[in-house]
Assembly symmetry: C2
Homo-oligomer: 143 residues x 2
């Protein structure tokens, strides 16, 4: 049946190469660094934040590599791209289906608690297209 076991955070640094390889991502030094940062815990990081963490860890990668790597990880399903506010994209190290709260006033982003939220009566995709993913963002304001 070949059910692929996807590693979800936290993933130890020494397991990152295997996590990449299992998704068909060629392993390189930069990808290990970036993967280790993202997979350390379930979190939402922007490209800029990832690069700052790289520096803080004494590693580094060019801006182009950070963007390319995050895009590759998202394409391969290691992380999930979140478009929240048009100013930047966030990468969510929890790639499974779940929804988000976004506080419009202070920019904070939370996962929904794992309550059984369901979307019912979802229409079928338009003719000639197939479903990719469903994003649900609940915007809240500070009371």
């Amino acid at each position: 049946m070949n059910i692929k076991k996807i590693m979800t955070p936290p993933v130890r640094r020494e397991d990152v190469p295997a996590a990449l390889a299992s998704l068909g991502i060629a392993v390189t030094a930069q990808r290990i660094e970036i993967g280790a940062i993202l997979l350390e815990s379930m979190q939402h990081l922007s490209a800029e934040q990832v690069q700052a963490r790289l520096e803080a860890d004494g590693a580094s990668a060019s801006k182009a590599t950070v963007y390319n790597t995050l895009g590759l990880f998202a394409k391969k399903g290691l992380v999930r791209e979140l478009v929240i506010d048009g100013a930047r994209v966030f990468y969510d190290s929890n790639p499974s289906d779940h929804f988000h709260f976004y506080n419009v006033d202070d920019g904070t982003l939370f996962d929904f608690p794992s309550s059984p939220v369901t979307l019912t009566n979802l229409p079928t995709p338009p003719e000639g297209t197939k479903l990719d993913k469903v994003d649900v963002i609940v915007r809240v304001t500070t009371k």
Copy 2:
């Protein structure tokens, strides 16, 4: 009870000033132009597309005015801001609650057909915050 009657597209050009005023938006020449474009029909337009339509109509407004006006309209509830792909923001001239399909391959954006889609078991917003709006975007790819 003071139930406000919100005008929904199509709104005739001569009714635009009243539509603005009813939402507490000061009426100016530029706002009428931009409002007339948006409210002509239910549609999704980017700031750039609005400005192009202005030119096409022989009117014009500076880039800053277009952005300010669209932001003001969104804040007042005349249109709804849609953050879809991080590259630009769209303004939806149908401000009522409804969800969207987005074709990732060609960038087209559709409303859901008006089937009774419902989100159930939506968790309550985090302590100290209150719900602003819920965005549901179903991303599809060309098969």
